[in-house]
Symmetry: C2
Subunit: 180 residues, 2 copies
């Protein structure tokens, strides 16, 4: 039936798909302007066939130097990355790269709102984890080990269940902004 189809559909949706769907919704409803950055690639060779589109025939993936998402929400600069883990008790630090932590620290020092959206897929729970807490944990543990979920939930903001968009993460941003 429809319900099962819907459930299956949602199960198949990765965190980035959910965020992209939320961003489309926010843009259409004039709630926020947030986009995913394109995947950075180094282009080496391009063919220009007559009468058709330029075709890239050799390119390589680059390491991203920033996070995947940024934009503006009620005059505030938002900047974040999406992380998924199957782990049920900890968030392993290896999920995040040092340059992303550095970038989020830079964002915060410029007065921007930085965070991770972390989905614990097994628990089906997504949290907004603020950049200042992430940076502190990273420095303390020198980028190793993991953050206990028990500790993380004390500092993070749960994205509450919603239907449309299915991941209404701006409500967690509101909760975070209210505490700043």
């Amino acid at each position: 039936g429809t319900k099962r189809g819907l459930t299956f559909g949602k199960r198949g949706m990765g965190l980035e798909d959910e965020i992209n769907a939320a961003n489309d919704y926010y843009l259409a409803d004039h709630l926020a302007v947030i986009h995913k950055k394109p995947t950075p690639v180094t282009i080496v060779k391009v063919d220009y066939p007559a009468r058709s589109a330029a075709k890239i025939t050799e390119a390589y993936f680059q390491k991203p130097s920033t996070t995947d998402y940024n934009g503006v929400y009620q005059g505030r600069y938002l900047d974040f990355d999406a992380k998924e883990t199957k782990n049920k008790t900890v968030f392993p630090m290896k999920n995040i790269h040092e340059h992303q932590v550095q970038h989020l620290a830079n964002v915060v020092s410029q007065g921007g709102i930085g965070f991770l959206l972390i989905k614990f897929t097994t628990l089906n729970q997504t949290y907004l984890y603020p950049a200042p807490e992430l940076v502190a944990a990273w420095m303390q543990q020198e980028g190793r080990g993991s953050i206990q979920l028990k500790e993380l939930v004390q500092q993070a903001y749960l994205v509450k269940a919603s239907l449309n968009p299915s991941l209404d993460y701006l409500t967690a941003v509101d909760d975070y902004l209210a505490d700043l």
Copy 2:
């Protein structure tokens, strides 16, 4: 001599190179966190050779749906695109795409700071042209024709000459913010 070399070096620098150099300078000096977005490409085929990096063997350029640059400066969200023209008396509207105007209008309505950096290469002058003026001109002329330089300079902010970075466009942003 050194001076001539420097001048030649600058002559060869396109507007985007100048902006990227300014952004590197701003990041290193903790003045702003502004990055160019990667060129969006649709990836069709990827080879995974043993023992070497994944190689993209078929991909196509996508039309960008936003502007090229965004980031945060003293808590403000900045969003802009770079445009160059050899024209000495007008800025032709065909230099800008409708989706970019739409995006900048969205940014402004969320309280962000949107603009174009327009370089008149023959005059060697670069202006910050605010998004609200651009959107008004675009609507009035239905995306056609051009904006007279005489009119543009009334609404725009000249990026004053500087040595390091060679295009210190944040000074024009400061002038614009002071008028808001």
